[in-house]
């Protein structure tokens, strides 16, 4: 069964001049995780807001857990959890205050909301900080508490909008751990992200969006292969470039690209680390000691450039970032 279906969603702003969503469609199978991957300004937040009943699209339709989002938003709100792009908490109140307040608003009675707050604080390693105001929390703690608040009534469908953006590497790893746990519990999850790596780690399938449309879908591996899979990159001394290039070509089968300026040779390889070892052996036999060698996986940039033919990130970051910054901090 499909837990989320969106069909031809269109949403425009500023009298039609800004197309936030331009006929976006997607489906998420029950109990699976869809990663909605796209650069700043692609329409990720807008999609989440439509599905979470916060925003009415100009046209198109959507169902969540089988319920029509536009016709029965009240019913949808009972079965979803939402954790937005920015932690939405009462900064002056403590973590405990926030969770019990949201518990009451989900219509748990006083005792049940307290019990649930305790459980969630424990689960998200926030028990020690429970009695401190949110404004003293780190970015990672805020995001975890925000996520906890969206799990109060065990939602059937969960929306997480860029859950790790702005976190340091440690905060990101902790968040991933938490989300992994959730997914094991069987929730249907729609997660947005700007990082292929994150979608790769957390999602069962990925939909890449740009300018309000889904432009590609598949698993992370499928998307990467579409871009050409992994590349082997080595750096050698200038006088060894010619010989090393020959050896790399022998393993790769394709003609390597050589950047003489930085003495770097790179070529696509099909079987990752095995190819790496093979090249290392050949180099060793030829008495060539590379200054640097490694496998490079395609980044979101590579996927993007190959899918759209343009670098979306840089351009729209300025525009969308500026807008968001004035909207909320």
């Amino acid at each position: 069964m499909k837990s989320i279906i969106a069909q031809n969603l269109v949403k425009t702003y500023d009298k039609g001049t800004v197309k936030a969503l331009d006929g976006l469609s997607l489906e998420v199978e029950e109990g699976t995780v869809l990663g909605l991957l796209g650069p700043n300004g692609a329409g990720k937040t807008t999609t989440v807001r439509v599905l979470a009943t916060l925003l009415t699209p100009d046209s198109g339709s959507a169902t969540v857990a089988g319920i029509d989002v536009l016709k029965h938003p009240d019913e949808v709100r009972k079965v979803i959890g939402l954790s937005g792009q920015y932690a939405a908490l009462d900064e002056t109140l403590t973590g405990w205050d926030n969770l019990t307040m949201f518990g009451r608003l989900y219509h748990l009675n006083s005792a049940a909301s307290k019990k649930r707050a305790e459980e969630l604080l424990e689960k998200f390693s926030l028990t020690d900080a429970a009695k401190r105001p949110i404004r003293t929390y780190s970015g990672g703690m805020r995001r975890r508490l925000d996520l906890a608040a969206s799990l109060i009534v065990k939602p059937k469908v969960l929306f997480l909008d860029e859950p790790t953006t702005g976190l340091d590497p440690r905060g990101r790893m902790e968040m991933w751990g938490v989300i992994d746990e959730l997914v094991k519990g069987g929730v249907t999850l729609l997660l947005t992200t700007q990082y292929l790596e994150e979608a790769d780690h957390l999602a069962d399938s990925i939909a890449v969006i740009d300018t309000g449309k889904v432009i590609a879908r598949g698993t992370a591996d499928e998307l990467k292969n579409q871009v050409g899979g992994e590349r082997l990159e080595i750096t050698v001394e200038v006088n060894q470039i010619a010989e090393a290039t020959k050896l790399v070509e022998q393993v790769s089968g394709a003609t390597p690209t050589v950047d003489a300026g930085i003495r770097k040779i790179s070529a696509p390889v099909s079987n990752g680390s095995a190819s790496l070892i093979q090249v290392l052996r050949l180099l060793d036999d030829a008495k060539i000691h590379p200054l640097d060698i490694g496998l490079k996986r395609p980044s979101l940039d590579d996927v993007f450039i190959s899918l759209t033919g343009h670098v979306a990130e840089v351009v729209s970051e300025v525009e969308a970032g500026g807008k968001n910054a004035t909207k909320r901090k």
Partner: protein, 264 residues
């Protein structure tokens, strides 16, 4: 129905909790009007010839009470704009609660805050010579009137807060409107000194009818009003009631509608 009552109580309780968690806010919200009482009492009190028993402070207190509750509009607007800015309103809107719970909770919470402020101001006033002379029932009614006026002003604040979406903008906007409104009135000085056209404005100004009503309820002759002999200045209690009903009848439905569609 019962559910929506409990929803808005949770939101109101949140505001009371905020007062406990950062008491500074309430303390400053109270010190400011208390300071106004002292400043006006001792700076202007000597210069203005009140001509009523007990002196200027009898006229001043109702004026400063009304000014303070008029600023509930500001508290509500700024509070809601901050919630908008932080995304809290979005979160509330994604919860299965009644559509009016958040805004009703806010207006009620801001009104409860006024209770504390009014008590403190009343005590400070008493210390510097304010002696309402109308008896407990009318005095109580006077305070009830003040709370009701603050509550109805709060609904304008809801609309402003949800419309501007930014704390700072809300702050500037409301101060720019509420301050002139409270000074273009009979709150601190007689309206007789104003140009004729402003006199009419001042007498129709809800702040003036409220001040006149409170002076009546607290037992002081309103010698600062009624120079242009307009109907509102002669029937201040009735006119104030009409204003309050109108404010709520107009702004409550518009504000709730705004809340439901706030994200365009």
């Amino acid at each position: 129905m019962l559910q929506s009552v409990s929803d808005f109580l949770v939101i109101t309780k949140r505001q009371l909790l905020q007062m406990i968690r950062i008491p500074e806010v309430l303390i400053f919200a109270t010190i400011q009007p208390a300071m106004f009482v002292l400043l006006f009492r001792y700076v202007f009190g000597g210069a203005i010839d009140s001509g009523v028993d007990g002196g200027y402070v009898q006229l001043l207190m109702p004026g400063i009470f009304v000014q303070t509750v008029a600023f509930t509009l500001a508290a509500t607007a700024v509070g809601l704009a901050a919630d908008m800015q932080k995304g809290l309103i979005d979160r509330f809107r994604s919860l299965p609660i009644s559509r009016s719970a958040v805004v009703i909770g806010r207006t009620v919470g801001d009104t409860l805050q006024n209770v504390v402020t009014l008590v403190v101001m009343g005590l400070v006033g008493f210390l510097v010579g304010w002696r309402p002379s109308s008896g407990p029932v009318k005095i109580f009614l006077g305070f009830l009137f003040l709370l009701a006026f603050g509550y109805s002003m709060s609904w304008i604040g809801v609309l402003i807060g949800l419309s501007v979406r930014e704390e700072r903008v809300a702050q500037n906007l409301v101060f720019m409107t509420v301050f002139p409104l409270t000074f273009l009135s009979n709150a601190f000085a007689p309206t007789t000194g104003m140009p004729k056209i402003l006199q009419y404005f001042a007498e129709w100004n809800p702040v003036s009818t409220m001040v006149a009503a409170c002076r009546e309820l607290f037992g002081t002759e309103n010698i600062f009003g009624a120079t242009a002999n307009s109907w509102p200045s002669q029937n201040p209690i009735l006119m104030s009631l009409i204003y309050m009903v109108l404010l709520v009848a107009i702004f409550a439905p518009i504000s709730v509608r705004k809340y439901v569609r706030v994200s365009k």
